[in-house]
Symmetry: D2
Subunit: 113 residues, 4 copies
Amino acid sequence: MNDLRDAIRAFTEKRDREQFHSPKNLAMALSVEVSEVAEHFQWLTEEQSRNPSPEKLAKVREEIGDVMIYLTELAGKLEIEPVEAAKAKMRINEEKYPATLVRGRANKYTEYS
Amino acid sequence: MNDLRDAIRAFTEKRDREQFHSPKNLAMALSVEVSEVAEHFQWLTEEQSRNPSPEKLAKVREEIGDVMIYLTELAGKLEIEPVEAAKAKMRINEEKYPATLVRGRANKYTEYS
Amino acid sequence: MNDLRDAIRAFTEKRDREQFHSPKNLAMALSVEVSEVAEHFQWLTEEQSRNPSPEKLAKVREEIGDVMIYLTELAGKLEIEPVEAAKAKMRINEEKYPATLVRGRANKYTEYS
Amino acid sequence: MNDLRDAIRAFTEKRDREQFHSPKNLAMALSVEVSEVAEHFQWLTEEQSRNPSPEKLAKVREEIGDVMIYLTELAGKLEIEPVEAAKAKMRINEEKYPATLVRGRANKYTEYS
């Protein structure tokens, strides 16, 4: 992940794009890229989404690559480490949604968020 | 990242949530979480977004944690490795947007996407 | 719709918010509000989404209100009339996706977009 | 707006697309179209977004048309009237954010949402 972060930084600097890459703009770009992932699934049933064709999967992989690029860049600018942030959030979720309580009433349970 | 992926899987299974976590639903959830990141920046100037207050930064960190959780889970279901996907996409971008060509006409240049 | 547009403008001016409501910021805010609509549906099956509970419906109605507010405001700033823009887009779609061609191969057909 | 709603319904039925247009799927599609609006503004400054070029404006108009189409269709399925929903939400906002209280502390004020 550090390699990725450095590669993105070098890419952006070499192209003189740093000035445009404020956290605000990166958050917008991240949101747009995530929509490009979602677009591949919007007319599929859930079942179909579990078994995408190889062609669709290849496209989704590219879009997930874009999401990861912008997420890494945004987090880097804010000196946040995304995997650490995710692990910290998982610990919060563990306390907030104890398995014994949540299990079996899945429909009403509003997800970790 | 593998630890994170396994922790998410265990969390979801223990709470009987696997049935809801189709790629389609995870793509929607990812999109919602990314909007929660963007929400923190929407009324800030770009300059302000570069210097968030410690309170805002703590909240953004939590939201980035959520984004990373759903991205990891979605990618895991599709057997995509997000960091590898990002590196592969960076190689495509390197070819598509040569630094010598892009540099200096930043305004017209539509980003890697 | 004109009444709505004027009411939003008066609301924003009276609160000295005009300065923050650039098209860029309004596009972000619109995106965030749409996610709040989507959030209500993300863990439902398609079937469930066709029959929401009265409580959920009331919440979705509020979020759709927010979406319509920001859409009206954004369009107003750009001197675009959303209903006219939609009708113009429908005419493009009619030509782009002739019914005789599209009918019966729904799965492959990528929607009007 | 009623004309628009009826035209969309006829378009969808003639193409046998009704089966795919659950509220859940329409909420996803709406979210994707809104991102296509946001994409036009993501690398612009706020100032630039206030003065888009005629070419950009024409594209934004098409995307706003798409947003309005899906919003109308989603709301129609749920028997929600978007303009009425927006007006109802404006009344809530008037009470929640009194002008006398909000005015002058714009920075801290978190928008109607």
